[in-house]
């Protein structure tokens, strides 16, 4: 796997040339510009190596395949030697694993390059790295929306920037749900939007379903707005009593805000919305880009369609966010 690491001298070279991001709004107040610059430099160096060394991909593929075949042969040999099936099964698993690693590496590199390209063009900051510390901080600061799953919480592909005068931060949030011996990996993506003027109440909207309806019968937290569509789409959760909070919450959820949220839910798989004093956080199901057209193994060209898809995804939410910030300021 040493082969996957870009050469350190090139990383240092890019580090020197990349600017240190400044004045960036972060919902956690834990922005680490030097670390992000280092990660971006690694990404640039990885792509440069692909561009300059035409044999790199061939060598990389050959190595992973050879390793896989060696593991397979060794497993079969050991199976015969010890008269047991297990070494053979391990051999097959390692063989498949090594091929999967090479595919995932190229896929992730393509995704990172697409997003990094967009960030550069829009003057945003992008961090391709996986970050477990920030995932933990998100869970601590915004438990209503991020306290999910049982283990392996991580944040990746984070953007920071300004879109039409609205400061935002977005990223992927992943976790694993463990139920007995079964585990499910869940991928979501979030957007945090900075408010221009503070909101009075912190409250959380999540999808209305039979369970939430039943829960609300006991907690009596449901607030009815004038929109049937909104009431059918969202359930409420907040600290404190309904009588104390309802007025402020309804004041925030003006007709225009309700309509924007209902429209967003109709367009995308909007899971939850959290209104806090100084920001709104949206959580969506899935990742920003599922099917990639870019195939670095075939060509080093980044597909324009991939770039457009990611940009459209980002802008569709940011446009709504801009309207919401405008309405609520």
């Amino acid at each position: 796997m040493m082969l996957l690491k870009p050469p350190q001298d090139r990383v240092n070279h890019f580090k020197k040339h990349l600017p240190v991001p400044k004045n960036v709004w972060d919902p956690l107040n834990a922005f680490t510009p030097l670390r992000i610059r280092e990660n971006c430099a690694k990404l640039e160096a990885s792509f440069e190596r692909l561009q300059n060394d035409s044999n790199f991909l061939g060598k990389f593929r050959m190595q992973t395949w050879l390793f896989g075949i060696f593991a397979l042969l060794a497993g079969i040999g050991l199976s015969f030697l010890f008269n047991s099936l297990m070494p053979g099964i391990y051999g097959v698993m390692i063989c498949i694993g090594s091929i999967v690693v090479s595919i995932i590496y190229l896929r992730n590199l393509s995704k990172d390059l697409i997003k990094f390209g967009i960030a550069k063009k829009e003057n945003w900051v992008y961090d391709p790295d996986v970050d477990t510390m920030r995932a933990r901080d998100f869970i601590l600061k915004f438990p209503e929306i991020f306290k999910k799953g049982t283990r392996n919480h991580e944040v990746e592909d984070q953007f920071w920037g300004t879109y039409k005068k609205v400061e935002f931060h977005s990223g992927l949030f992943r976790y694993v749900i463990q139920r007995g011996r079964d585990s499910t990996r869940v991928q979501t993506h979030y957007y945090a939007i900075k408010m221009k003027s503070p909101l009075k109440q912190r409250f959380h909207l999540y999808p209305e379903n039979f369970g939430s309806k039943l829960a609300n019968l006991f907690t009596k937290k449901q607030i009815s707005t004038e929109s049937i569509a909104f009431n059918k789409a969202f359930a409420f959760s907040y600290d404190g009593k309904r009588e104390e909070k309802a007025l402020d919450i309804v004041a925030t959820l003006t007709p225009a805000v309700q309509q924007q949220l209902v429209d967003l839910k109709r367009k995308k798989k909007l899971l939850e919305v959290l209104f806090t004093k100084d920001c709104i956080i949206f959580l969506f199901s899935g990742v920003l880009l599922k099917k990639l057209e870019t195939n670095l193994a075939k060509s080093l060209e980044i597909s324009k369609n991939d770039v457009d898809k990611v940009r459209d995804e980002l802008q569709s939410v940011l446009d709504v966010s801009e309207t919401l910030v405008d309405i609520l300021s």
Partner: protein, 176 residues
């Protein structure tokens, strides 16, 4: 015994249907109140706007008079969907023409009060448009219930009437 259970289930279903009709009709009324609040908020800003504009553009008396007249009509149209929709549309159009006329008066355009009112009215225009959409969606939901089987039987039985849509030619908020 089975007859008792069958009757009980039927009665429960009928209660649920009746309650859902009531709930939906109340939601329509509630969303109408939502429009009313936004329209009233906007109407309340008109006298301030008229007095600010009068100071700078006394020649635009016709527009200002029309604005005042429409405001009165809008406030008088309480509960009358057709009248309110007509007055609202005309008021929005008149406001738009007033802000267009203001372009000819640089002093007015630079007036802080005027700018603040313009911003506030623009925001309210967005709210009115959204409230209108919510109301129309609710009405559509309610009217569908009133017309669809088996709720239409109850609707006829208990005199649930179809509600009118808040119809305007403008689908999106007018940009002021």
């Amino acid at each position: 015994m089975w007859l008792f259970w069958t009757i009980l289930v039927i009665v429960l279903i009928l209660i649920l249907i009746y309650n859902s009709l009531i709930r939906t009709r109340n939601a329509v009324k509630n969303s109408w109140a939502g429009i009313d609040v936004q329209l009233k908020k906007r109407a309340d800003l008109i006298p301030n706007l008229v007095s600010v504009v009068q100071g700078y553009a006394n020649h635009e008396k016709t527009v200002l008079k029309k604005l005042t007249k429409l405001r009165t009509e809008l406030l008088a149209a309480k509960g009358n969907v057709k009248k309110a929709a007509k007055s609202d549309e005309e008021l929005s159009a008149t406001l738009k023409s007033l802000f267009a006329v203001a372009e000819n008066y640089p002093n007015l355009k630079a007036n802080e009060n005027f700018l603040a009112l313009q911003k506030e009215l623009s925001k309210l225009e967005t709210q009115v448009a959204a409230a209108r959409r919510i109301y129309n969606e609710n009405v559509m939901y309610y009217n569908t219930k009133v017309e669809m089987f088996p709720t239409n039987i109850f609707a006829k039985l208990f005199n649930f009437q179809k509600e009118l849509f808040f119809e305007t030619t403008e689908k999106d908020p007018i940009r002021l």
